[in-house]
Every structure is written in C-alpha cells, then in structure tokens.
Symmetry: C2
Subunit: 511 residues, 2 copies
C-alpha cells in the first residue's frame, strides 16, 4: 500500500514536471506593420464598388423590425422584395459611432479579450456537425466531445476565446441545446465565447448567462460586454430573419457582433477576388450599419471569410492562395474603416495531415499579416469546417504558438549581440558551454509541443510516430492536465436555475 | 491485340489530359515590400557588431593562397593562427564591386536564373546522405535516386535551379562522384545548378562541364556565368582550405558564390538571435570580400542559414520561429549591402508529415517575406537535411506554388469588380452559372497538385489517402510524365569525354 501510494505520488511529480510545454497566457500583439496587397487606389475602388452595391442593388433583409429601422434612418426600402438600399452617408454615419477597439470580459477578468489595434486573438473552430479523433474515428457532434473540446480550449493559453459551438451536440434537442453549450462554456472554461445569434432567444440566453456568471445586471453588462457573435450573411446580399434578429438583439444589449459574409468565390460571390471583396465589403458594412442603428456605439467587427471553390466540383476550398490573399486584403479594408478585423484560416483536408497543416499555415499567415484581431476557427478546423478534430486542434495550437513566437520582437543590445561570447569561443568551436549560452539556454528558444527534433534513429526507436500520431497522445495528456476553473457555488446554482427555467419555457417551441 | 492497343492508346490520351497540374515556367517576382523585423538602428547595431568581429576577433582562413590575398589587400594576418582581421574599409570596397544582381544561364537560355532584385528562385534540397520514399523506405544516397530526383526538379517548373548534390551517390568513389552528378544535372535537366566547391578540382569540373554544355570557352563563360556554389562557413569564424579554395576558384572564373554561414544558435553561434546575426553577417561579408579580392565584380550572394538547436539535446531545429525571424531579418541585412539574398526554409521532421509541412511553410514565409532571391533547399528537405524525400519534394512543390500564386498581384478593374454579375445574381442565389463566372472559371483559381478538396464521403470512398500517400502517387506520375531535354550528340559526347578524362586523371587521388 505504502509503495503503491509513493509510486502514485512519484507519477504525479513526474506528470507535473513533464507537462505539455506551452506559451504563457497573455495578450498577443502584432508589432509589425500590416501587409498591403492592394494599393490605396485599389482599396478605394473596392470601397466604391461596394457602395454602389449598397446604393443600387441593395440587400434583402427578411426582418420587419430591421426594415423599419432602416426606413426610419432614411434608407430606401422596397417592402415587396424586402430590399434595403442605403447610401454612403448612412455608412459614414455608422462608422462614426462604431468603436475601433473594445474589450470582451468573461467571468475571469484575467481572460479579458482585447479586440482591435494590434492585438490578435485565436478561437476554437465553431459550428462543425461532426467530431473526429484518430482513436475513435468520425462521429456526430455530441455534448461529451463538446465538453472535452472546450476543456482543451481552456487548457491552451494561445486560444484566448471560444467560438460558437465547437461541435453541435446533436443528441440534444435543437431548440435548447444552446443552453447546454453555454453552460459548458461557462463552467468548464473561464474564457469569453461566441453566442449563437440564430434568432433572438439564443442570443438573449447567451447574454443573460454570461451576465449571471459575471454577477452583472443586463444594463451593467451592456456597458462592459463579454460575449460576441458571428453574423454569417446569406451571401449574396441577404440577411435572413434569424440572423438579423440575432444581430439586433446583440447590439441592443451592447454585445459585440462580427458581421461575416461567407463569400466563396465562384459560388456565393464573383469568381474574381476584387468582386468578392466588393461584395464582402458591402455586406459587412451593411450589417455594421444595422448594429449602429440599433445602438450607436455597439461593438462590431469587420468579418471576412472569402475563399474559393473547386470549380470542377463546386466544393469549398480553404487555405488556398486566394483565401490567403483575401485575408490580407480584407485587413486593409477593415482598417480603412477603423474597424476591428475578424479573419479566418482554414483547410479542406479530410485528415489532420500535411495538407491540413500547409493549408492552415498558409491562411494563418494571411490572417496575421492582415492584422486580424480575431482569428476565428483557428483551432480544430477540419474538412472545411464540417468536423472538429482533436488532433488538428493540437496541430493548430502548435502553429498558433509558432506565430505568437514569431511576433515577439527581436532584441538588439550589447547582451544580445554577445560580442564577449563571440570573442571567447574559438574558431570552429561551439557555444554550448559558454556562460552567455548557459545563462539563457533554458528559455532562449520556443519549445514546441508537437514538433519532434530527434534524429531519425532515436525517433524510429521511440516508435516512429508522425506528428498526427503524437497529437493523439497530446490531446489526451492535455485533458489529463486540464483543471476546471473554480466557480462559486451560488453562481453555478444561478446558472443551473436559469437553464432549467429556460428549458421549461422553451419546451417544444422556439427558443 | 487491336483492342489491347486501342486501350493502351486511350490510356495514353487520358494520361496526357490528366497530367499533374502545375504553374507555367517563368520568372517569379515578389512585388510587395519586404517585411522588416529590425529597425534601421537595429540593422546598424548588428552591422557594427559584425564589423567589430572582423576587426577585433578575425576569421581563421586555412588557405595560404587566401591569406596572401588578404595580406596584399592590407588586412592584418596572423600566420601562426591563420587569422585574418579586416577593417570596414576593406568591406566597403568589396561591396562597391559586388553586383546587386546577376544572371545564371544554363544550357537552355530559357531557364536563365535571375538572382537579385525582386526575383525569387527555389532549388532542390542539397547534400543529404540519405534518400527516402514511402514505398522503398530509407536508404543511402545513390545515383539512381539522384537521377530521379533531378528528373523531378526538371519536371516541376517552380524549381528554377538544382542545388548541390540532391543526395550523395555513396556507391560511387568519393573523389570522382561529382563528375557523375554534374553529368546527370546536365543531361537529365537543362536547368542551372550548384557545383560542389569542396576544393579547387570539383569546382573547376563543374565550371568546365557547364561551359562545354553551353559551347563556351572558360573566358566567355566567366563573362556570362551559369553555375553557383554554396560556401558553408565552418562557423564560428573559420574558412577551411577546401572551402576557401572552392570560393576562390569560382570567383576566378566569374561564377557565383553564395557565402552561407551555418549559424545554429546555441551551437555554432550565440544563443541570441542578434548575436547569431552579427556572426552570420561577419562571416558572410568576409567571404564576399575574399571573392571580390580574387575578381572584383564576381557575382556573390549574401547567404543566411541561421536556426536554433534543441537546447536539451543539441539537435538542430529548422522551420522554428527563430529560423523564420532570421530569414526575414537576414534579408534586411542583405539589402543593407545591396547584395542578392540566399535564404533557407527547412524542417527537422523525420517524416513527410504535418510537422514537415508546418515547419517548412513557416520558414518559407520567412524566406519570401524577407525577399530571398534564392530559396535554397526548398524542395525535398527532410530530417534536418539528412534525407532527400520524394514525398516531401512533392509537398514542397505544392507549398512553393502556393507562395508563387500568393505573390500574383490582385487585379482591380471594372471586369474584376464584377458589378454587372453582382447585380444579375439574385439575393441568396449563386454565381456558378453567371456569364462572368463561366468566362473565367477554368483559370480563376490556383489548381493544386496534392490538396484534396473532396468531401469526406467521396474522399473516403476513393481510399481515404492522406496528403503524404497522395504524394507517393504524384512523384511516380511525375517521373512518368518527365521528358528528358534534348541535347545535341556532340555536346553529350564532349561531356562524356571530359568525364572520362577527368576520371582517369583523378584516379585514386584528389579531384
């Protein structure tokens, strides 16, 4: 017994000392100038085309409440076709009240998300109907996997925010499962998250539950927001009722909205990048105008999700050169309007393989060089967003950390220039034992979690596992290391009571 | 029989129509401003530190001929320690004669490599002792694999130049195998290549054989170079005799030299990036001074290969954030001296897996953002350069093509803005059938070779192959599609005669 106990204790000690290495928590900033793929004239030409789309073609809005708001603001509204045409003046007015930066504060204020300026945030994948890992295979989304995936998001510091549902828990009733996912987000993590804004009810529930978790009234919460949502426009040029209502509900309550047209070139938008960007710009700004009409000053983000399809099959593609260019160019547009920028990496790969890695890395560079403030779907995205992958999540954490480390400025001073060491080490010698090295070696370099730097023989001897196989071990280890953040019992009870009450209210009806 | 024949003919027709898609041949330019990670002051501080290294500590040069050259130029030479100390004046003088751009013309002038300015070139991996593919496993380098790998380099347009030996053909005598590899380079490809400059003989043979292939005298060839080499400094601060002789031989003959310190932070250079860059700068400039002393105006490149080691094991790492930063910052240094820039991506992965992809993509972005003119080791690099991988070569071609496509400027004009199409397609509709799409769809987007964009079910049905498995099929297909470039019989005979003569001359001795 004693021996058993001491062995377990030794195991624990070792587990502590061999925890998965990761970057410390904190606000990540991009200190370098954003990349520009478009000239100023080209930005203006795209802006002008988007204004002509709004003025001439208009946007269909399937919400009477939204139509009335636009009408009151002086827009031209065709009620038969539910089409709203707005002029540049209305756009400019909205841009005067939209903030260029804001914060989202979750229940742990240490996890406050800064949106705007030079700050970058990375979120979990959102929306997949399926889940995959290499041990259990592919399966429908479910609450247990949902919980494990948000635990992983909590565990890894580089994921500063959850997205909308990391997978759909399809075994739960569709009209109330958002309550279960919000509850999981709030109890298993202390990070900010995206609420589902498909209709008023789901948005309100997310707002109410975060307010409870923070101990705030809805009024106080409106002045100090803590949740956001993605409004995925039904491109081309349509806001459906649920999305419009969701957007308005969020804005009414002072919560943030990222208006994100899903402009797949060749399918939902022109086959040309300039045309797709013009359309994206028109649709994103239109949603931002609506938010500002609801509540001037409501926090908003310029959302971009422009990629292309495979023109032979119509299948969506991600992490392509076109997607990457769009990520950079969209940042130029967002900055033209002084709006925070939501960007998106991605991959169409059906496996957490080399394609998954190079496509994601490609689009991730676009998002970073374009100064994305919120890099959405950044961890766990597989199969073009149809599957949340445990292994891909680990690979993505590695890639995000590579970027975070790349963005740390290079220091140049006498100590870093190391002339003393350069004079000490003989020609053809080595720096391993030099005091300059010994003082710094343990923290000098980024320590990866997935990358294996063993030589071939040692790697083969240890099993010859590829990066995907190592990722399987890592997500399991991360779940073991995961610690549930403390929540005061009364808060938890209040959340449970809210969920129970709302579940009963919703019944078989609409949320 | 007839049927058999017609089926084969049908197969051939299909094979032709389903060739591996790839970008057309041509000069790739990077039209965007280079990224800057260092401020101007930081660049100057690194420059100044490197000058102090050259002035105070000096460089060991194990070649009496080189020592004499430096002495004649006014450098301080300590013969006992073979140490050369040079002052800034000598560096500045050399930089006045070193060209900022030049061309390397192989036997096919259509394949001329432009080195400098905004042009980017990508080469095959160079130097691995081993070869790997997923069907035949890992094995020692050999001539048959060498030949297949250079055939692949010939086949893929994005590889604009071979490197030095893509693998060592170890079954051949070490003192004459360079003749066999040059012969393979010259007959199986019509692209430029790197000669091995380990000593005078190997360099001279490469120069002579390219001159024969182009039908030029050595004098004419010196005025219109066609080969280059990498001078890998024995960092810290040592040029061995073979490298110094190789460098001087190349410069004498007007051929190009990329002086490339291999500065692995923590091992051959300080553990700090600023220190490693200062050392790299000193060593690279020192080699460039030597080339200019031999022949003012000799084409040279500023070579950078700064990465870090795993401080727990001392193992080299590549494609790390540090490597990526060094790739960007080294470009700033090269441009300070108006020198063409040789950069390097890489990966430590032992497999053509997700790690191989994300590490390579990471460092590749650094090379491109840093405006590398020659991106060395860009295709086939595995195991930190110890193995040439057939699958990795295919994945790398895909990644290089992604970058090439990313660098194509975005066009913005009325046709590209597609306002007519945007007005035609109804809200919530799609652009698939619109004339604007139909006119452009076949060429609108980059067509990948490895990436699979099928949905999960179709992919699974087709075998569920991951990117690495697909890469195996692709290199085999590429070898089938490969066409040997025509060479006039007299040229081939002259090359054969040169090889035979030199093999006899060398015998059991030194080349």
């Amino acid at each position: 017994m004693t021996m058993h106990r001491s062995r377990r204790s030794a195991d624990r000690t070792q587990a502590r000392s061999t925890r998965i290495p990761q970057l410390p928590p904190g606000r990540l900033r991009n200190p370098y100038p954003p990349m520009a793929l478009l000239s100023d004239d080209q930005v203006e030409a795209i802006h002008d085309a988007s204004m002509r789309i709004l003025e001439k073609f208009g946007i269909e809005v399937m919400s009477p409440r939204a139509l009335a708001l636009f009408e009151r603001a002086g827009a031209s509204v065709d009620h038969a076709s539910q089409t709203v045409r707005i002029d540049r003046g209305l756009v400019e007015e909205a841009l005067r009240t939209a903030p260029s930066a804001f914060t989202l504060t979750p229940r742990n204020p240490g996890r406050t998300v800064h949106v705007g300026g030079d700050t970058i945030n990375f979120t979990l994948v959102a929306g997949p109907p399926n889940v995959h890992d290499c041990e259990r295979g592919r399966r429908a989304g479910n609450l247990r996997d949902y919980q494990d995936l948000v635990r992983l998001a909590q565990h890894f510091n580089c994921i500063t925010m959850l997205g909308n549902q990391v997978c759909a828990p399809v075994e739960l009733p569709a009209n109330s499962r958002h309550l279960d996912t919000y509850f999981a987000n709030l109890t298993l993590t202390d990070k900010a998250f995206h609420v589902s804004a498909i209709g008023r009810g789901r948005a309100l529930d997310g707002i109410a539950m975060m307010a409870i978790a923070r101990g705030l009234t809805l009024e106080a919460f409106a002045a100090d927001p803590g949740v956001t949502t993605i409004i995925s426009v039904n491109s081309p040029r349509r806001f459906d009722d649920a999305m419009a209502e969701g957007l308005m509900t969020m804005a009414e309550h002072g919560q943030s909205v990222a208006v994100t047209p899903f402009t797949l070139m060749g399918a939902m938008s022109p086959v040309t990048l300039a045309g797709a960007l013009a359309q994206q710009n028109a649709e994103a700004l239109f949603g931002i105008v609506l938010a500002q009409l609801v509540r001037p000053g409501a926090p908003v983000m310029y959302g971009a999700f422009t990629s292309n399809v495979d023109m032979r099959s119509g299948a969506p593609a991600f992490g392509t050169p076109e997607n990457t260019k769009a990520n950079v160019a969209s940042g130029q547009l967002a900055r033209r309007y002084r709006l925070p920028y939501r960007s998106t990496p991605g991959s169409a790969s059906n496996a957490a393989d080399a394609q998954g890695a190079y496509e994601t890395m490609m689009a991730l560079w676009g998002a970073v060089l374009g100064h994305g403030n919120l890099v959405y779907h950044a961890a766990g995205w597989q199969e073009g967003g149809l599957t949340a992958s445990f292994e891909k999540l680990i690979l993505d954490v590695e890639m995000i950390q590579h970027m975070a480390e790349f963005l740390k400025p290079i220091e140049v001073d006498d100590a870093e220039l190391a002339l003393d060491a350069l004079g000490r080490v003989p020609t053809g010698g080595h720096f391993f034992g030099d005091p300059h090295t010994l003082e710094r070696y343990s923290t000098a370099f980024y320590q990866p979690l997935v990358s294996n730097w063993q030589n071939f023989e040692a790697w083969k001897e240890a099993g010859g596992l590829d990066a995907t196989q190592r990722a399987t071990k890592l997500w399991k280890k991360a779940l073991e290391e995961y610690a549930e953040p403390v929540m005061d019992a009364p808060v938890r009870e209040a959340l449970e009571a809210y969920v129970a009450k709302r579940r009963e209210e919703i019944g078989d009806g609409e949320p």
